[in-house]
Amino acid sequence: MLEFNDVGKQYKNGFNALYNVNLKIKQGEFVYVIGPTGSGKSTLMKLINAEETPTSGRVILDDVDIGALKSRQIPKHRQSLGVVFQDYRLLPAKTVFENIYFALEVINIEKTKARKRVREVLELVGLADKANSYPSQLSGGQQQRAAIARAIANQPKLLIADEPTGNLDPQMSKEIIHLLGKINKEEETTIIMVTHDEKVVDFYKKRTIILEDGHIVADLVEGGYRSHDH
C-alpha cells in the first residue's frame, strides 16, 4: 500500500534529514518507527502527509506519487489519512469537540452522524468531559489525546501517529496503544507509529523500523526496542 523508493530529503537550509529510504508497508500492517531524536522520523511522516516533498526518490501510496501531488490534490489525499502530529496542531480558537468535528466536516459527513462520532472518539480517548474546553485549557496529555481522537475520527485507511504517547502516563499510554491495536485489527487500518516508548515497543511487539541519522538501519519484523544494538 505504501512504498518509499530511494527517498532522500534535504531541507531548504541544506540539512539532509533522510538518505535513500526504501520501505514497503502493506495494507493492515502496524509498524513502529523508532530512532534517536533528530534521526528523521517526523520527516518521514511529513512526506507521507505531503507536508514536505522528497528531494529524491518517490513516496507512493496506492499507486499515487504523493510527492508529485499538486497543491489542490493534497486535501483529497489527506482526507484519507489520519495524522497525530508531534506538536498536536489543534485549532486554538475551537473547542476539543469542534476540533474533531472540523475533521469530519472536511470529509462532508452528515451532521448528526458527525456529532455522534465525535462523542464516540472522545469517549475512546477518555476526554468526554473536556469536550467543550479550548486547547489552552487542557493539560499536555489531554491535548495529545484530543489530537489522537481527531486522527481516528474519520476512520482513515492509513493512520500515522508521531509520538502519540510522549505526554501520557504509562497507564494511559497502554490504553492508547491498545486502542490503536484494536483499530488496526477491527478496521484494518494501516498504522505507522513513531515512538520513543521502549515499554510499548517491547510489550506490543510489531514490525519495527529503526532510523538513525536519516538512514534505515534496521527493519525488524519481530519488533522490540532492544533487539537492535547500536
Binding site: N49, A50, E51, E52, T53, S71, R72, I74, P75, K76, R78, Q79, L81, V83, F85, R89, L90, L91, P92, A93, K94, F102, A103, E105, V106, I107, K111, R150
Partner: protein, 299 residues
C-alpha cells in the same frame, strides 16, 4: 448546499467572536478609513455643487442690433435656444437693461439716471445661460456670428479664468477622490490582510487536516465581510446624523443663500450605501486575496 452555507456563516461569525480583540482592532481601522472617506465625500460633493452654482450664475450677454424687428428677434432667439450647451435664453429690452445697470452700480448708479427714456444708449439684449462653464466660450463665439447680434459679452477673460478654475476644482476633487478611494481600498485590504496573517497557523492546521482551499476560504471571507460591516457602522451613523444636523443647523445653505448644500435625500442614503459597500465588499475582497495568498504558500 444549505448546510454548507450554514457552516460557512457559522464559522465566519465564530471567527469574529472568538478573535474579538483582533476583529475589533481591524474593524476600528476600517472605521477610521471610512470616516476619512466620508468627510472627503461630503466635502467634494458639496464643493462640486457650489462650483456648479457659480458656473451657472455666469450669463452670456448678447446685444441685439438697433432696428431688428420682433419677428427677427424671435427667430434669433430660437436659433440660440437650439444651440448645444444652451440652457435658457431670456430677452431683456433696453429699458430693463438700463435699470439693471443702474441697480448693479449701486451708489454710482444715479449717474446714469439722466439716460432714462429716449436718450437710452443701450440695446435690447439676450441673457443666455449655458449648461456648463465649459460651454460659455463656445456658445459666445457662435452667438456672436448670428445675424442681428451686435456684440456678445460674458465678463471677458476674468470670467473665463474663473470658469477654468472652477473646472480645475472639479477635476481636482475627482482626482483626489479617486486617489483617496484607492488608498482607502488598499488600507482596508491591508487591515484585513494583517488580521488573517496573524492567524496563518490556523490556515496551516486546517490544510494539514485535509481541508480544501475552498472549505477554508469561505468562512474567512464572511469574517472579512463582517469586520467590514462592523467597521462601516460608526462612519455611517456619524455621517447620517452629522450631515442631517449640519444641514438643518445651516438651514441648507453654506455662508449665503446662494450656496445650497446638497439635499439630504438622496445624498445621505447614497453615502451610507457607499460606505457600507466599501466596508463589506473591500473587506470581503481583502479577505479573499489574503487567504488565497496564504494558501498559495501552504502545501
Amino acid at each position: 448546499m444549505i448546510t454548507k452555507i450554514a457552516r460557512i456563516l457559522r464559522e465566519g461569525i465564530y471567527g469574529v467572536i472568538r478573535h474579538r480583540a483582533m476583529s475589533l482592532s481591524s474593524s476600528s481601522a476600517v472605521t477610521m478609513t471610512l470616516m476619512i472617506v466620508s468627510v472627503f465625500l461630503i466635502l467634494s460633493v458639496n464643493i462640486r455643487l457650489i462650483v456648479d452654482t457659480i458656473e451657472s450664475s455666469v450669463q452670456i450677454h448678447a446685444k441685439i442690433e438697433v432696428g431688428t424687428n420682433f419677428e427677427q428677434i424671435r427667430s434669433v432667439r430660437e436659433e440660440i435656444e437650439n444651440l448645444p450647451g444652451v440652457k435658457s435664453v431670456t430677452f431683456s429690452d433696453k429699458d430693463s437693461e438700463l435699470n439693471a445697470f443702474i441697480e448693479a452700480y449701486g451708489d454710482q448708479g444715479d449717474l446714469f439716471k439722466m439716460y432714462v427714456g429716449d436718450k437710452n444708449p443701450l440695446r435690447d439684449a439676450f441673457l443666455i445661460e449655458t449648461t456648463s462653464g465649459e460651454s460659455i466660450e463656445n456658445v459666445a463665439t457662435i452667438v456672436a456670428k448670428i445675424d442681428h447680434i451686435e456684440k456678445v459679452n460674458y465678463g471677458g477673460t476674468g470670467t473665463l479664468l474663473l470658469m477654468d478654475s472652477m473646472e480645475s476644482i472639479k477635476t481636482g476633487t475627482l482626482i483626489v477622490m479617486g486617489a483617496l478611494g484607492l488608498l482607502a481600498i488598499l488600507l482596508i485590504t491591508n487591515t484585513i490582510d494583517t488580521t488573517i496573517n496573524a492567524r496563518s497557523d490556523e490556515l496551516f492546521i486546517m490544510r494539514t487536516v485535509g481541508a480544501s482551499n475552498g472549505f477554508i476560504r469561505w468562512p474567512f471571507i464572511i469574517e472579512g465581510m463582517i469586520i467590514g460591516m462592523i467597521g462601516s457602522l460608526i462612519p455611517i451613523i456619524l455621517t447620517v446624523i452629522g450631515y442631517i444636523y449640519l444641514y438643518n443647523m445651516l438651514d441648507g445653505y453654506l455662508f449665503t443663500r446662494i450656496f445650497a448644500l446638497v439635499p439630504i435625500v438622496p445624498f445621505v442614503p447614497l453615502l451610507a450605501a457607499i460606505l457600507l459597500l466599501l466596508g463589506v465588499v473591500v473587506g470581503m475582497l481583502g479577505s479573499f486575496i489574503s487567504v488565497t495568498r496564504k494558501l498559495w504558500w501552504t502545501r
